[in-house]
């Protein structure tokens, strides 16, 4: 899933300063699971913002709606009374925020979260990055552990000199991906794979204006 962290009340308050009727839209998929953009979090942020504005004597009306996904237009169509709001704050990932913006024509759509990474939930409230969406997967070469996402330098041919007791040079709290990969390949009886030099990554496959087209010509 895509993991996002909440923006602060101060930031959201500053973004919505000029409005007195806004819609806060939660996303029922990724950001709900990452505990930052679901129904509950939208309600907490809306309540906090209403209070903050009330204290300043400038009440704000906030509608709260959560849909299954904001990266799917059919769910966005389920939103009600969108025309009556001056602006919307989206609590989805960057794709969801832009999906909402596509449908909320002529009105500002503001980000309620900072999209962080593709990863998973290690334990309640703790998420780790697993994938950089690099467009050229090599997990079959690295024992199912991604060095592009999990090595701080994205190295492809083994640990750097900064690895120490299995930890990364940037933090003692982070595992060295290449020590994990070595151990896993050893368990798989495939250390020969570790010894093969992996060629430089083809960055033409990543970081550009990407799209994927499965439509057949003539369809």
């Amino acid at each position: 899933m895509i993991v996002a962290e909440p923006k602060s009340l101060d930031e959201i308050k500053a973004m919505t300063e000029g409005f007195d009727r806004i819609l806060m839209v939660g996303c029922g998929t990724c950001t709900t699971v990452s505990l930052t953009g679901g129904e509950r979090e939208v309600n907490l942020m809306a309540t906090a913002l209403r209070l903050a504005r009330k204290v300043e004597g400038r009440d704000i009306e906030i509608g709260e709606q959560t849909i299954l996904r904001q990266c799917d237009f059919e769910y966005i169509d389920e939103l009600k009374d969108v025309d009556s709001y001056q602006a919307a704050v989206s609590f989805a990932c960057g794709a969801g925020i832009q999906g909402l913006a596509r449908k909320f024509v002529g009105k500002p759509v503001l980000p309620g979260v900072n999209t962080q990474f593709i990863g998973f939930n290690e334990e309640y409230g703790y998420f780790t990055e697993q994938c950089k969406a690099c467009g050229d997967c090599i997990l079959h070469l690295t024992g199912g552990i991604c060095p592009v996402a999990r090595c701080a330098k994205g190295l492809l041919n083994g640990p750097c000199g900064g690895t120490n007791n299995g930890k990364c040079e940037i933090s003692k709290d982070k595992d060295c991906a290449w020590v994990l990969i070595y151990n896993q390949l050893e368990r798989l009886g495939n250390l020969e794979q570790f010894k093969k030099i992996i060629a430089p990554k083809d960055f033409a496959k990543a970081g550009n204006i990407r799209s994927m087209d499965l439509r057949k010509a003539g369809d």
Partner: protein
């Protein structure tokens, strides 16, 4: 005699390093270079060492060449993509640089511009392959060069890494990728180092053991605690703690270690970060 030739001739080779300064005043650096000029075979020029922004390596290698000192051009992959790395290598070749030390480089988070975008388009193993490709007359994309390079490429290894196995496998990859010499992380535990050298021996690549001057017991403890791949044995820490003048004791220890290492490896790389003026004393203590 040049660095490469000295290694080929089996001489005991000595290298040291100069750190480009932060700023345009190079007077102190030039003073150190002149002091070391006739004491070493070559001087490494570091590349934004510890991810701290400094004068460019390429400019400082030119200063060294003008002073008649052979540089070892350190190149990290942190600050340039493959275009930048290759074009700087060609530039260095024009200046007359022969030796290149291919490094991945410390992460930007360890340095003084933590908010920088770290590049790491390539890494040390791949950079070694690129250098060999330039030597053959081609760039990474397969385009033919108008005038090829003639680099003598090296790499680093951490003989006391923990765990050692993944590091050793990477060492083997570096040899395969074309590393013709190695300089090591600082070694203090000579027993462990001997084990490494015996294992590395079959690859027949000259290895220069890293010598880092210990200035005090506190520094030794700091290295043990915070620096990857360095383990100063307790006896050495005690020796420094008991000494009246710890710096002089450190010089004595370094000299003693070089004398011992002389029996087992191709040379030494002396690092005296901040106390470059002590390098001649270390070499004198080693009988060099």
């Amino acid at each position: 005699m040049g660095f490469k030739e000295a290694l080929a001739n089996g001489e005991f080779v000595v290298t040291a390093e100069v750190g480009p300064p932060k700023g345009t005043d190079i007077s102190e650096m030039v003073h150190h270079v002149k002091m070391l000029k006739d004491k070493v075979h070559a001087l490494n020029v570091t590349d934004n060492q510890s991810a701290v922004m400094r004068v460019s390596t390429i400019a400082v290698t030119k200063v060294l060449l003008d002073l008649g000192v052979e540089p070892i051009f350190q190149m990290t992959c942190r600050d340039r993509n493959r275009l930048g790395l290759q074009s700087d290598l060609l530039g260095a070749a024009i200046f007359g640089v022969k030796n290149v030390l291919a490094l991945t480089g410390d992460h930007t988070l360890l340095g003084d511009h933590k908010d920088a975008k770290p590049v790491f388009d390539l890494e040390s193993v791949q950079l070694l392959q690129v250098i060999n490709r330039l030597n053959e007359g081609f760039d990474m994309a397969g385009n033919e060069l108008k005038g090829k390079t003639d680099f003598f490429a090296g790499a680093i290894v951490t003989p006391e890494a923990n765990p050692l196995e993944p590091q050793f496998a990477k060492f083997e990859k570096k040899v395969e990728a074309g590393a013709k010499f190695f300089q090591t992380q600082a070694v203090y535990d000579l027993k462990k180092f001997h084990t490494f050298i015996e294992r590395a021996g079959k690859y027949n690549v000259p290895i220069l053991a890293g010598i880092l001057l210990l200035k005090s017991a506190g520094m030794a403890k700091y290295l043990n605690k915070f620096v990857a791949g360095i383990s100063v044995p307790d006896e050495l820490i005690q020796e420094l703690a008991d000494a009246e003048k710890p710096l002089e004791k450190g010089i004595e220890i370094a000299g003693r270690q070089i004398r011992e290492l002389r029996q087992v490896c191709a040379g030494v790389h002396v690092m005296a970060i901040g106390t470059e003026d002590k390098v001649p004393d270390i070499l004198a203590a080693a009988g060099l």
